[in-house]
Symmetry: C2
């Protein structure tokens, strides 16, 4: 399927690059097969794991307390505290929100 995609004549050099990148991501298992068709999914900001220190730095960058930060993410303040102390690791939707804040600021999720 990857090879097939590569061989397909792309509409533009830019699109061709997107195809290449997609194929590579796909090979690495980072992209769902469906994204080979639905290209808007590629415009997503990549979701990376965040260390406790990075989470704390992120929150302090936004100048908010743990309770307020938690309020933005719709989690309990305890959760934020545990993230920053490494007791729990955010993943899935929580990690997505944290990455959104990192990339676009708190206002992006307000």
């Amino acid at each position: 399927m990857v090879a097939k995609t590569r061989n397909k004549r792309a509409a533009s050099p830019i699109l061709a690059s997107v195809y290449e990148a997609t194929a590579d991501l796909h090979k690495l298992g980072l992209v769902d097969k469906s994204t080979m068709r639905e290209f808007d999914a590629l415009c997503l900001t990549p979701v990376e794991p965040l260390s406790p220190g990075e989470i704390r730095a992120l929150r302090e960058r936004e100048h908010v307390s743990q309770p307020v930060f938690a309020h933005y993410l719709n989690v309990r303040k305890d959760a934020v505290s545990k993230w920053e102390r490494g007791e729990k690791k955010p993943d899935g939707p929580s990690l997505k929100l944290l990455n959104l804040v990192r990339a676009k600021g708190l206002l992006a999720i307000a």
Copy 2:
């Protein structure tokens, strides 16, 4: 504490209204105490529960498949399927993301 806040001379009529609204929300237990100081938290889009039908309608409004929708939210496609069939109920961070999409569209979390 609520009365105390009410008695405080507000800087403007608008701010006074905000105080009033905050106090009421606080009385209803909808707002964390911290928000009485951190006002930006009030600018948050309220997070409401979504029914299975509303979730499906939301996804179809954005013209994406379950796998792609899941990709945006950084959850597995199975999760989206279960939400739409009422098998699982999104809450916390997932619900926040869904409300974000509803209020601002998929691009807001891209």
